[in-house]
């Protein structure tokens, strides 16, 4: 019975924390609506857009093409790939051929500098970039024509070291993609706004990072982050330590996720959970409290005699969460369509209310995933297996020998019959044979 009240109380706490997240998103959008960043400044230095490519993302051609249509005086685009056989290479060529007026370079170079494949992809592009201002932009984002004007105006002040953006997931047509978009648009967006606004913790999202080369070099350059999984977050943290501001731009970029499998969704959020656990430590525990739906399900499990009341309670919580998420969705949609995206670009932005009916299922899955980082530190990222350590530092899975794996290896190698054989061998051979 006591347990029931504990979970019920935690659910209420979760709802309060969730409300704060929703409020912080609303505040972020309201504040940004008051200013007009596009007109804010005449500061328009030339810049280099670095696009690491690997494989075919949903909507890849349109995503890349949207960067050729930016309303900005001078910029170059560098598509960086690890090898010619990558199917994204052909798409990059198609975009380059279709837009001969754009300054596009395709760099194909196998770089093995570190364990983070994105940094490996970026190193040759960074080296080849012409301008001091660099924008690292993932291949799965699509932007409107005002994107550069908007974000560059925020780095005009020398106090600002890095400009990042909020991400809005759209276009879900499979269950994995719907879950992904719902999670990006509520939990991730809410957390970024909350951390930025109230705790002043720079929460950088690697899908869009605008920096000066000089600032990046001052915090160690690309090389310093070559073995870090959450290179975006750590770059932001190092910028702040260096004394520079990290700004979350009012410009919301679109991340089109259409055909994700459920497995891909689970893989990504297990990975993200592990890196948040390794970076945030005990702060990670608070994430479960921000999941009132999962807490309310625990209330049902804990209720022995009052199952019906607990069920009604959980249903009410789910309904509140669905409504809240839909409200955030409408807020962001209005913000995007009013200010930045012409109708042609801003397609299918009104996620139907039907998709939001999946919110409780998604939250329960996320609640279950939350426990995984306590069990395993292994991650599978783009076909590579790693062990993740403190501050999301990556270790090769093959070379790593943690306590458990060392123990398992010893158990595996333990062969009593060999020891008996060794005992019977002459002393002179004992040492060498015992190593076998």
């Amino acid at each position: 019975m006591e347990l029931l009240w504990v979970f019920a109380s935690l659910t209420v706490v979760g709802l309060i924390m969730y409300s704060i997240q929703v409020f912080s998103v609303k505040q972020h959008l309201n504040n940004s609506s008051e200013q007009n960043p596009v007109q804010l400044s005449d500061f328009k230095p030339p810049l280099s857009i670095l696009k690491p490519l690997k494989g075919i993302d949903d909507n890849l051609f349109d995503n890349l093409e949207s960067f050729c249509r930016l309303d900005y005086p001078c910029y170059e685009i560098i598509f960086a790939l690890q090898d010619y056989n990558d199917p994204a290479h052909k798409i990059a060529l198609m975009v380059k051929n279709k837009h001969p007026e754009s300054d596009i370079t395709i760099i194909v170079e196998h770089c093995n500098q570190g364990l983070n494949p994105k940094i490996n992809n970026l190193v040759p592009a960074y080296r080849a970039s012409k301008y001091d201002l660099v924008l690292i932009s993932d291949s799965n984002v699509m932007v409107g024509t005002d994107y550069l004007n908007s974000i560059v105006s925020r780095i005009a002040s020398p106090e600002v070291g890095l400009v990042t953006n909020l991400i809005r997931g759209i276009g879900g047509r499979s269950i994995g993609a719907i879950f992904e978009n719902l999670h990006l648009n509520t939990f991730i967006m809410g957390s970024v706004c909350f951390l930025d606004r109230y705790l002043h913790i720079p929460c950088v999202i690697g899908k869009s990072m605008l920096m000066r080369k000089s600032d990046l070099e001052a915090v160690g350059g690309m090389n310093a982050f070559k073995d870090i999984l959450a290179e975006d977050f750590i770059i932001g943290r190092e910028m702040k330590r260096y004394g520079k501001k990290v700004v979350v731009s009012e410009y919301m970029i679109q991340n089109i996720n259409e055909y994700w499998s459920l497995r891909r969704f689970l893989n990504r959020h297990t990975r993200w959970g592990k890196l948040r656990w390794k970076i945030g430590g005990y702060q990670y525990l608070s994430e479960l409290l921000c999941n009132p739906v999962f807490m309310s399900v625990l209330t049902i499990i804990a209720a022995s005699g009052e199952r019906l009341s607990a069920l009604l309670f959980a249903l009410s919580v789910s309904l509140i969460k669905i409504t809240g998420d839909y409200y955030v969705n409408m807020l962001t949609h209005r913000h995007q369509s009013q200010r930045f995206y012409p109708k042609a670009v801003c397609y299918s932005v009104v996620s139907s209310f039907r998709q939001h009916l999946f919110v409780p299922a998604k939250d329960i899955l996320i609640g279950l995933i939350w426990f995984v980082p306590f069990i395993s530190a292994k991650i599978d990222w783009r076909g590579n297996k790693y062990i993740i350590g403190e501050d999301s530092r990556l270790y090769s899975h093959e070379n790593y020998s943690g306590v458990i794996s060392r123990l398992l290896k010893r158990l595996h190698n333990f062969r009593p019959w060999q020891i008996r054989h060794n005992i019977n061998t002459p002393i002179s051979n004992f040492n060498s044979s015992s190593k076998i």
């Binding site: 494989g55 798409i91 259409e258 055909y259």
Partner: protein, 230 residues
């Protein structure tokens, strides 16, 4: 080489995606040539009537609309992605036993061909229209839910002269019997949903125009297959 897929379904039959979306998926993934080949099912038995009842088949009534939609999408695909879209159908003669069932692709179709005609008549009519005929998934498939269609292979001596190419690869399956017989070959996805894009494909060494592509398939020179993976 041209990256091609000649066996693709949309919501005009039993595919899960609209024609426009299918064209975008292939265009965004860098394909050079695709053929949209929705089912035309024989309506002369209960299985066929079921397909017609639930609109899993292109019919004589909506064929013109189907062709018109394909032409519009072909124009859009060429303008946006430089991708050639060829109209086609998959004649599906479904029967209760695998030995009697046969599926054939008719690529670059101009006029409707009903599936209730005899196989010989269908293939001759396709030839008269200048289309390419392909025997699809002619051997045993690995997916348990898929129904085998063995009629054409079992009667290959009778029909092979009318068939321009045989599907040597279909989604994840390879049919080595095709190579042993040294028949002309193609490999396709049999695309019904988005994940099927990652499957066997054809590579053609020829110009990106419909006549060169048909010639290349018929001559079967400069044809290769590849397993398209992300």
């Amino acid at each position: 080489m041209l990256l091609c897929d000649f066996h693709i379904h949309t919501k005009y039959s039993d595919g899960s995606l609209e024609l426009r979306k299918v064209v975008d998926i292939f265009g965004q993934s860098g394909f050079d040539v695709i053929a949209i080949t929705d089912h035309v099912v024989n309506g002369d038995n209960s299985m066929g009537r079921f397909a017609h009842r639930f609109k899993f088949s292109v019919t004589a009534h909506n064929f013109d609309e189907y062709l018109q939609a394909l032409r519009q999408e072909a124009q859009r695909a060429m303008d946006k992605y430089g991708m050639l879209v060829i109209p086609g159908i998959e004649i599906s003669k479904n029967h209760l036993t695998a030995d009697k069932s046969a599926h054939m692709l008719i690529i670059d179709i101009k006029e409707f061909i009903p599936a209730c005609m005899s196989i010989e008549s269908i293939l001759i009519e396709a030839k008269n229209q200048g289309a390419i005929t392909v025997a699809c998934h002619p051997h045993y498939l690995s997916e348990a839910l898929n129904k085998n269609t063995l009629y054409l292979w079992n009667n290959r001596d009778r029909y092979s002269r009318y068939i321009d190419a045989w599907e040597i690869g279909n989604r994840d399956d390879l049919f080595n019997v095709i190579s042993l017989k040294k028949y002309a070959f193609l490999a396709n996805s049999d695309f019904h949903r988005a994940s099927h894009i990652y499957s066997w494909k054809t590579l053609l060494r020829c110009e990106k125009d419909i006549q060169s592509i048909k010639r290349c398939i018929r001559d079967n020179r400069g044809v290769a297959i590849t397993l398209f993976r992300n």
